[in-house]
Amino acid sequence: MTTRGRTALFLAGAGGLGALLLWGLAGLPDFGHYAGPYGDILVHVAKPQRNIANVVTGVVFDWRGFDTMGEELILFGAVVGVAMLLRETREHDVADVVDAVRSDAVRASGLVAVPVTFVLALSVIAHGHLTPGGGFQGGVVASAAFALVFLSAEYRAYHRIGGTALWDSVEGTGAGAFVGLGLLALALGLAFLENFLPLGTWNTLLSTGSIPLLNWASGVAVAAGFVLVYGEFLQETMAVRHGKAKP
């Protein structure tokens, strides 16, 4: 089918789909007049039931914790898929690739940026139940700290600290800890992933029961997953660039 024919067919279909979408969306309440009961109920019971300040983190890790477990496992599966498809080059083939950044300004700013980003990531994960943030956001920022090592220094440095042997087990530990905390709740006689620790004082780090633990498990799993994905893509590119793999 020619491009023109494909485009014409698409425009016909898109016209119909667009009309259907717009007609369906017209049935929603007016923008700005959110009517649904669940949001209001959750905001109402956030403090009495869970002592949590950031209601979104409460929804993600407590009231809908099961969905987040599914999301962690999706990330885990995606990392497995990427690793399986790309891991044809063996790691010691690329361990001696020299591809250093030459600019002193970039290296110096990397030296400052990497620890600051890492500490920021830890802070975002730790305060997830108090201020906007949480396991996923902090995990991606932590993986960004490792990516900055590659960007500001060289690939060999990233290869040394982003090695798959370590990060495979870290990711497994994070994902396993999330499920393990759920099973622990089950073992204590509660529902799966139910909050089983005392709720603590309002607006402090040690409040809201087992939500900070779930936060850390998910943050560690997400950071490790992303470090592994970057490592696979960068390894592939470096191997081809330096002739260690068939192009």
Binding site: L28, V43, V56, T68, E71, L85, P132
Partner: protein, 114 residues
């Protein structure tokens, strides 16, 4: 006028679909898929918005303040994670297919022709 935020969600989804249909490069296609997914974020958050509402984080505001819906924000967070996973896998498949067939053009790869 108050219908525009919902129409934006539909617009972004249709624009992304248009990109997928007209794409001649597998990597371009993966990026257009992520554009379609971003249309759903926009739609979800528009549904949960409330006039004069603030973010549902009570660390520094009184508990009686009107807020927007926290449930759709949680749904959007999960949506963003899934979109990143899908994009990483699609890019991996594009690179892998390039390794096998030597081309990124869907119309040149025999299995993807049509």
């Amino acid at each position: 006028m108050s219908y525009l935020p919902y129409a934006l969600g539909a617009w972004v989804i249709l624009v992304g679909l248009f990109g997928i249909v007209r794409s001649r490069n597998l990597i371009h296609l993966a990026v257009c898929v992520s554009v379609v997914q971003s249309g759903t974020y926009v739609l979800l958050l528009a549904i949960g918005y409330r006039d004069e509402g603030t973010a549902p984080v009570f660390a520094d505001i009184p508990l009686s303040r009107k807020t927007v819906d926290p449930v759709v924000q949680a749904l959007t967070l999960t949506d963003i994670v899934v979109a990143v996973c899908v994009s990483a896998l699609l890019l991996t498949l594009a690179v892998h297919s390039y390794r096998r067939t030597g081309s990124l053009d869907p119309s040149e790869i025999a299995e993807l022709k049509g």
